[in-house]
């Protein structure tokens, strides 16, 4: 399992490929890989957005992400998992988050990946501040429930 916070833009596909390549012990064991990638939009709540700053709580963010991945691994037979999340200044079209889960069978991969992503949205301490095209800044107030 790996949790990573990145202060620079990253290629989500390269991250997944590199991690899977390095995790030799799961070679031949997994039959399903489920991937979620969240990418920054250039619009939100009816406004044009030109950038965003992602604040986090160093230490607690990693601790909560580790806890969330461990919870998923208790509920589903997860062989391995990777979570990568951006912090700092972000531009539209840059990836914000990657969750990849490897399991033997697809149902567990879908479910565990979804669980990790939804728990991250509600419990991992990150906060987004948007810079609008109008130059106004605003904090996002809360995340929506992805199951609704």
């Amino acid at each position: 399992m790996e949790i990573k916070l990145c202060a620079e833009p990253f290629d989500p596909w390269a991250q997944i490929q590199s991690y899977q390549h390095s995790a030799q012990d799961m070679a031949g064991k997994f039959g399903a890989t489920n991937v979620f990638i969240g990418t920054m939009r250039d619009f939100n709540e009816g406004d044009d957005v030109q950038g965003m700053t992602l604040e986090h709580y160093p230490g607690m963010t990693e601790k909560q992400l580790e806890k969330i991945v461990a919870e998923a691994a208790q509920q589903w037979p997860v062989i391995d998992a990777l979570v990568v999340h951006r912090v700092g200044d972000i531009l539209p079209n840059e990836p914000i988050v990657v969750v990849a889960v490897w399991t033997s069978h697809r149902g567990d991969a879908f479910d565990a990946c979804r669980y990790i992503m939804e728990a991250l949205k509600s419990r991992a301490p990150f906060w987004k501040k948007e810079l609008l095209k109008s130059q106004a800044e605003r904090w996002l107030l809360k995340n929506t429930d992805g199951y609704l």
């Binding site: 604040e55 709580y57 988050v97 992503m117 991250l120 991992a124 301490p125 990150f126 906060w127 996002l140």
Partner: protein, 77 residues
């Protein structure tokens, strides 16, 4: 050792600082920590709290040397 209090995101802006150090004496719960650090500011009902980087309720106990954090709902992902 004092209690370290930390604030994040919009709450950090509204209290005007990122952290406080408080003497432990007289503090029993997370709510006490808030009241001591921010005597003139009522805590908004959506504020979340953590002790030593784990989420807690406001009536959770604190001990000397703890790190207590207050922050608004999270918006990552």
């Amino acid at each position: 050792m004092p209690i370290k209090v930390r604030y994040f995101a919009s709450l950090k802006e509204s209290v005007g600082r990122s952290e406080d150090d408080l003497e432990f004496s007289g503090l029993a719960t997370v709510a006490d920590v808030w009241r001591r650090a921010n005597p003139d500011k009522v805590m908004s009902s959506n504020i979340l709290a953590a002790v030593n980087m784990d989420y807690v309720e406001l009536n959770a106990a604190v001990k000397d040397g703890d790190e207590v954090a207050f922050f608004p709902p999270v918006t990552g992902g």
